[in-house]
Every structure is written in C-alpha cells, then in structure tokens.
C-alpha cells in the first residue's frame, strides 16, 4: 500500500456539503465536531470557489511532533491516527495543525476541552478493528473493509478524491492537462512537505 492522501480540486467543488454530511453520518461524529468542512471563498461573487477540508494526513505531521503525550501517530499507510485514551486535551495539535483539523468537544470550559477528535481517513483507531469501541471513539473503519473514506467516495463531482498520493497526482495531472491550466488543488502539496 502506498501513502494515503486527500486531494480537493477547487475547480470542481460545488459546495454541496455531501462530504460533510457523509462523514458525520458514517462516523456518527458527535455534536459540535465537524471532521470535514466545506469552506467557500468569495462567497456569492463571480469567482466563488469552494474547498472541502479535513485532516490531510501529512507525511511529516506537526501534530505528531508536538503532542505532549505522544499519542498521535502515522500508520504504515501514511494515515495520521491518535489514541484518545492518552489525549489530555491540551490543544497543542490544534495550534500546530496547518489545516485546523483537530477539534475538541468543549471549546472553553477552563481549557478542559476533552479528547481531541479528527478525521481518521475512515480507518478507525488503535482499538480492535471493527469493534464497538473503535466505532464509538473513532468512527467506521472502512479502509479495513477495503473501502475508501466515504466523503471522497460519494463526492458527486469527484472534486474530493482519496487514496494513494501518487494515484491522486496522476488523476489531477490528467485534469490539468485537459483543462489547460494548473493550480486549484488543495491539500496534496501542503501536506506532503517535509519540515526541516
């Protein structure tokens, strides 16, 4: 298996929010937390563009580097997961993350925050694969069932695609060649950077 990634093609996204809904439903994400969100730039103007954003599963993830209890880790597939049992809700991963992916059940409340929650690339967490514990803490483990994250699978314009990073760049390169112009992708370059 290669290294997993998301890519959002901003020239295709139509802000239907189906990825957000799919994610919330498939993983039964609690109230107040959106593992995926759609951001619209220049909303209502002629050059309006939208992007679907979640954890980008960085290859050299800042959250992994900063976590004081060292519970965020990168799997062999390049997916960034975390162990909620060891999370103390300090908020450092949120300060470090370029994409604003880590979220907490409580915002203020004397900084207690609760256990961090973020996109798992639909691949569960450190609990036993397919168990109820895994589902209630981290959501569905679709990757273990041979499926891709639901947000990307059901994206109607295939603006959001998920899978092996090399395959994603091939797909996007083909789109660029067909369109005759580049740019407009979100997530792949930023999340593949190696920090010095």
């Amino acid at each position: 298996m290669g290294k997993m990634a998301f890519l959002c093609d901003g020239d295709r996204c139509i802000e239907c929010n189906a990825c957000v809904t799919a994610c919330k439903n498939e993983n039964e994400v609690p109230w107040g937390i959106n593992r995926r969100r759609v951001v619209t730039i220049n909303d209502g103007l002629a050059d309006e563009k939208s992007l679907s954003v979640a954890c980008m599963h960085c290859s050299d993830a800042p959250c992994v580097a900063v976590c004081p209890t060292n519970v965020i880790y990168t799997t062999a597939d390049g997916v960034v997961l975390h162990d909620k049992d060891g999370c103390i809700g300090c908020g450092y991963c949120f300060y470090a993350c370029p994409f604003g992916a880590p979220q907490y059940p409580q915002k203020g409340n004397f900084g207690s925050r609760g256990k961090m929650d973020k996109c798992t690339f639909c691949s569960g967490g450190p609990e036993e694969t397919g168990s109820q514990e895994e589902f209630s803490k981290y959501g569905r483990n679709r990757v273990a069932e041979g499926k891709l994250p639901l947000c990307a699978e059901m994206c109607s314009t295939k603006a959001l695609i998920a899978g092996d990073a090399d395959v994603l760049s091939d797909i996007f390169r083909q789109r660029v060649v067909e369109r005759g112009f580049g740019g407009g992708s979100y997530g792949l370059t930023e999340s593949r950077k190696q920090r010095t």
């Binding site: 969100r37 951001v39 730039i41 050059d47 060292n70 300090c90 083909q174």
Partner: protein, 359 residues
Amino acid sequence: MIRPTLGGVLAALALVVLMAVSVPALADVRPPADAAVAVTPGQDIPQSLPSNLKSNPAAQLWQGVGDGTVGRVSIPDPQAGRLIQTSGMEWLEFRSEVIGFWGMVAVLGMVTALTAFFMIRGRIKIDSGRSGRLIQRFKRVEVVGHWLTAISFLLLALTGLVMLYGRDLLLPWMGPAIFAGVAEAGKYAHNFGGFAFMAGLVMIFVMWVRANVWDRYDFNWILKGGGLLSKGHPPADKFNFGQKTVFWMVTLVGVALSLSGLNLLMPFWFTSDIETMQLVQLIHAGLGVGLFALMLAHIYIGSVGMESAFDAMSTGQVDINWAREHHSAWVERYVAEHGEPPVTQPPTKGPGASAQPAE
C-alpha cells in the same frame, strides 16, 4: 392523479431525441477547444505537464489559500473558515528548540551555579550567633500569602515542565498509560492552581509593594554585591535589593504569566486568530520556565543557603542578630518602636571572629 396526454408524451419524446442529438455535441467540446494538449479520457496518463499551460483563472484566489484566506463555512464555528495557517510549524519549532533548549540550560545552569556557590561559600551563618531574642519579621497573613504563592507556583511550574519535557523525560520510563494519567492530572492542577497563584500574587503585592521601592541603601548594597561573596553585611531595610529583585520579578512575570495563562485557559475569548494564541503560548512557556529557574535561587537562599532565613517564613519570627546583619535599618526602626525583645531561646556562638555580641 396525472393523466398522460398526447401532447405531453410528444413533448417528452422530443426532449429525449433532442438530448440524444446533443450528447455527441457535448463530447466534442471536451477537452476544451483551447486546451494545451487534447487528451481524451481513457488515454494514458501524462507523466509530465506540457510547457504551454495557462495560469489558473483564479490564480490570485488560490495563492491566498496558502496562508491566511478565511472563507465562509455553513457550520456554526466561523473560525473553521480559515483554510491554512503555516505559523504552527514555526510555533512548535520555537517551543522545542528555543524554549525547550534554553529553558533546560537555564534550569540546569542555575542548579549548577547554586551547587558551586554552596561548595565555595557554604551555608551563610549568623556571624554573631543567635542571641535568643526573636523579633516578628512577618505577620501570619504575610506568611500565608507567601506560601499560597510559593506552593501554587511550584505546582504550576512542575506541571508546566511535564508539558514541556514530559514526553522526552518521563514518558519513556513511565509508559504511555501512566504518563497520560500524570499529564492529565497535571493539566487540571495547572488550570485550577493558576487561580490560587493569582490570589497569592495579589496578596503579596498589596502587602509588600511599599517595602520594595528603591531606597537609599540599595545602591551601596549593589556595590558590595550584597555581601554574598565578601565578609560583612551592607545595611538594608525590610527588604534588600536582592529581595526586591525577586519581588519585582515575581510580580511582573507573575502578572504576565497570569494574563497569558487566562488567555490559554479560555482559548479564543480574547483573540480570534491562531497566531496570537501561539505567541501567547510561547510567552507563557518561556516566562514560566525562566521564573522557575530564578525561583530556584530564591528557594536556595531561603533554605539551605542561609542560616535562620527559613524562620522568617515558617514562624515569621527571626533572631535579632540575623536581622541586624541582613536588615539593619529595619531592625533599628523595629527596636525603636517595640523595644528590645526578651531572650526566649538559648543563644549560640557565631563563627564571626570579630563580631561583638549584639547586646
């Protein structure tokens, strides 16, 4: 109920025919006529991009996405509209490489310096020995204020150090489960202990600020280096210049720590941007570890470093000979006001060869 009419059926049929005719036309416009290279789907994936690519029509818009663009989101949290922030990487590097490294240097350097000082100078004794006469240096409320600040600060410092260094120093031998428990308990202690520290800070500031302003003894005290390395004691009032330094450091750094701490405790209450939160976190961590290093010196001189110094903050009463040596001006005023106290403790002989008994 809808009844199919002839006209309706014909219209539907016409629509179907129209669409069937127009589909090849749609296929013709893909790829666009002005595409750099005409690629039809199903062909091999191009391995490189052609050189005559045009720039993206929304190039300027995409450029801003790289750092800072805030769009609109339909979820209730408008902050989620921020697409990318790149300062987080700088924040975590500064935290570990500057604050983590120099904080360690400051703490270990202070421990080394104090150990060396202890080996050279030894415990600073009362030159003229204890007279057995005790005078009230601090009232009960002052002692309480001191320990409220001191104990809460030590709690905050240690739990703060766990956040900064725990992953490297404690996690390997504690194991993840125990360390997570320690760190989480530490976080709660830190969050709530902060209020005890703030209360103590207010108490000691109100009680001691008047005795901590610059006075005529300070310049001489600085010139003589406080008598720390030489023999003899420069005169001082209730607090000497060294103590005043500690007081103002605790006050100023303590206020900065309290304000930055409140900001971290209630994230995004006082600011809406992440860069400010990161900066405040760095200030909080840097000042915290710095003040801890400074306090090690205060703890040293108030306990093992100097005979009788601890009495001032345990019972609040000190031997008059100790007070005469370290706070001569203050003792003079005290004696003038309250008179010489009676002997209540057995006197001892001091190491000072030339010292006269303080009678």
